[in-house]
């Protein structure tokens, strides 16, 4: 389809582990992202969930170009970013912007809000002529629901939710088509979180943005995402529409993850079939052979150690899943 705005093919990021004195030799690698295929369509929100350390942020950083992939290709609006020159890549970044997790650390405390949001214009002087930059910044502030008069304030004079709006305004400054949100609400209080999510949805409707939305809070992802990818140890283990993933998960990890999410309804207590996993996430430097989830999986058999399950449609559920024994299991009951 032509309206695929972002695509990755076997995207890999390995952080080398080195050893040696004079001549460093590589003795291994942290396989932070290990072959990820994704596509994002115009106007769509793709949710990515997974446990801490599974490579979500690394993937996000590669997508916005903060990290160069070890291998694999990244296409932004059909352009292969690994093939173009540095300058074009830098300009290409305009189209894909990032909203970071922590609104407290992602704004330079020594710059005014105006400087922060206006920085993209200085970096890309052709976007907005010099004279009207301030005006533009104020428009952005207004767009994200902040008082345009606050342009000369410093970040610490704002609350977390307001700061996150500043971060969003900065991301919007270059009129990108894609916005990558790396856990944009995890650091916020429940009561504020809703404000930011509402804003993101509003902007998407108004500006036709596409989102990649990373989060570990499954209910937030469910609320905002159209499609969801579940990551485990650098790989996508299951991907599908929001309904497919939440209603008919087929990968045991997805099932465990969903069942572990506490449901804010005491009536369901004891009725849910909770899957409590044993053990911890293995180290990405030394992932298990075959299926990476097999060390914690209750279904694991010999084949899981020998053969790596591919991400493919295996089951009547109709969405890809990387498990030899994929089968639907209903773990989430409707709240109502």
């Amino acid at each position: 389809m032509s309206d695929v705005v972002l695509e990755t093919r076997d995207l890999v990021k390995h952080f080398p582990l080195t050893q040696g004195i004079v001549f460093k030799k590589q003795i291994g690698a942290v396989r932070a992202v290990d072959g990820v295929n994704l596509e994002l369509r115009r106007g769509e929100t793709l949710g990515i969930v997974g446990e801490s350390g599974c490579g979500k942020s690394t993937l996000a950083r590669m997508l916005v170009g903060l990290e160069t992939p070890t291998s694999g290709d990244l296409f932004v609006q059909g352009k292969n970013m690994s093939k173009v020159g540095a300058e074009e890549r830098r300009r290409g970044r305009r189209n894909i912007q990032l909203v970071m997790q922590d609104p407290y650390t992602s704004l330079n405390p020594r710059m005014t809000v105006g400087d922060i949001i206006g920085e993209p214009f200085e970096v890309h002087p052709d976007v907005v002529p010099k004279g009207s930059r301030r005006r533009k910044v104020q428009e952005l502030l207004e767009l994200v629901g902040l008082n345009p008069d606050h342009i000369n304030r410093y970040p610490h004079q704002f609350s977390g939710g307001q700061r996150q709006r500043i971060g969003i305004a900065r991301a919007l400054a270059l009129n990108p088509e894609i916005i990558l949100c790396d856990e944009p609400v995890s650091a916020l209080d429940v009561s504020i979180q809703a404000q930011v999510i509402n804003l993101l949805e509003k902007l998407q409707n108004e500006l036709g943005l596409s989102y990649v939305f990373i989060a570990h809070d499954l209910s937030v992802v469910r609320h905002i995402a159209d499609r969801v990818a579940v990551m485990y140890l650098g790989k996508i283990v299951e991907i599908g529409t929001e309904d497919e993933i939440y209603e008919s998960p087929t990968h045991p990890y997805t099932q465990a993850l969903l069942s572990a999410v506490p449901v804010p309804d005491p009536k369901l207590r004891g009725q849910r079939d909770q899957i409590v996993l044993v053990g911890d996430v293995p180290s990405p430097a030394n992932p298990p052979s075959g299926c990476r989830f097999r060390t914690r999986c209750w279904k694991a058999q010999d084949i899981c150690a020998e053969q790596e399950p591919l991400l493919q449609i295996r089951d009547k559920s109709g969405h890809p899943s990387a498990c030899h024994f994929a089968e639907v299991r209903d773990v989430v009951h409707a709240t109502e």
């Binding site: 446990e51 801490s52 609350s159 939710g161 209080d189 429940v190 009561s191 504020i192 979180q193 809703a194 404000q195 999510i197 509402n198 949805e201 509003k202 570990h216 499954l218 209910s219 937030v220 469910r222 609320h223 905002i224 465990a256 993850l257 069942s259 572990a260 999410v261 506490p262 449901v263 804010p264 309804d265 005491p266 009536k267 369901l268 207590r269 909770q274 409590v276 996993l277 044993v278 911890d280 996430v281 409707a334 709240t335 109502e336």
Partner: protein, 345 residues
């Protein structure tokens, strides 16, 4: 696990074994800082029975941790001072005890689990040392015995290969295991009350599930009173018996878990519940609570929630703050309009 219970019962004066294990009455705590006095806790009352789980729910900065620290007597002082109220352990007011007596209550009778296990464990001592210290200092055990007990404890909280790991340092454990070590440490002296201050906030959902399951199991086994501090409505729904909702240093609603979720009687509680994304509301705007929590140095007069409240009227803006209204025999709410809030459903 057969703890030598007898050792710890050197009687406290006025101890009433039949009284509640923990009762907090009108607790007040303030921080005297350079920028003024922060009223972190302004009259918090709750109690907890043996075997019961009391959840304290509230947003960041509303005074949950401070309450817990005040109960333990480990506030940073200065700048923190308990300025009023009572903390009763089986009828004994801990605030009136001399420090040497009070020290014996800590860990022995009331223990605590901290939010961030990595920073709560001393990075330069082995886990075994930190666990064994409890036995050595409170039970006078030898190093070997203390170590043996530490291994038992690690086993209890399901840390594999406990014998070897007892000599590891905290940073060598994963997040979930550290939190289990914290739990082991809290349970070491078989306390009657366990205060868990956001024990799973820093953890992944799957690990959170492990930890909560473990806690529930241990609580059941020992018939402990558990005070669970959290802001996660889901966790509360899963494990709590009774809930106290805090806002700006005050308990604004107190009720059984089912009552609260079914029909909140305070607009803040209601707002919280509504702002959780729900399946049936997918695609719709979330109902967010507008505005921000107040700064504790500058709490608005009247009901602290009034600037954000959709029910607020003039009376809410005037001192005194609304008292706790008895909504039903087993629940209270601090809102002048609790009836409207509740009936609004």
């Amino acid at each position: 696990m057969s703890t030598d219970v007898n050792v710890k019962l050197d009687a406290l004066p006025g101890l009433d074994p039949k009284a509640l294990p923990l009762q907090v009455k009108n607790l007040q705590v303030e921080f005297r800082t350079r920028n003024g006095i922060a009223h972190a806790v302004n009259g918090v009352s709750f109690d907890v029975r043996a075997g019961e789980t009391r959840a304290i729910l509230g947003e960041s900065g509303c005074g949950k941790s401070v309450t817990a620290q005040a109960i333990m007597g480990i506030l940073d002082s200065p700048p923190g001072f308990v300025t009023g109220g009572e903390i009763l352990y089986r009828g004994v007011d801990l605030l009136k005890l001399p420090e040497s007596e009070r020290r014996k209550v800590r860990a022995n009778r009331i223990a605590m689990i901290f939010q961030d296990a990595l920073s709560a464990l001393n990075p330069v001592f082995t886990v075994g040392f930190q666990l064994g210290e409890l036995f050595r200092k409170h039970r006078g055990m030898s190093r070997q015995d203390a170590k043996a007990r530490s291994v038992e404890l690690l086993d209890l909280v399901k840390i594999p290969a406990a014998k070897q790991r007892v000599n590891d340092y905290p940073h060598q454990f994963s997040g979930g295991m550290r939190q289990r070590v914290m739990i082991a440490m809290a349970l070491a002296l078989d306390p009657e009350v366990l205060i868990a201050d956001e024990p799973t906030t820093a953890l992944d959902v799957t690990v959170q599930a492990q930890i909560m399951a473990l806690l529930a199991e241990l609580q059941r086994e020992r018939n402990m009173a558990l005070v669970l501090i959290t802001h996660d409505m889901g966790v509360v729904a899963d494990v709590a018996d009774r809930i106290s909702v805090m806002y700006a240093g005050r308990v604004i609603e107190e009720a059984g878990v089912h009552e609260i979720y079914a029909s909140p009687a305070h607009p803040y509680t209601k707002g919280l519940l509504e702002s959780i994304p729900r399946l049936d509301l997918k695609g719709q705007e979330l109902s967010a609570i507008k505005g921000l929590p107040p700064a504790l140095t500058n709490i608005p007069p009247g009901c602290a929630f009034n600037p954000r409240c959709r029910y607020a009227q003039d009376v809410c803006k005037q001192d005194p703050a609304p008292a706790l209204f008895q909504v039903s025999p087993s629940r209270t709410a601090a809102c002048h309009f609790w009836k409207e809030v509740k009936g609004d459903e």
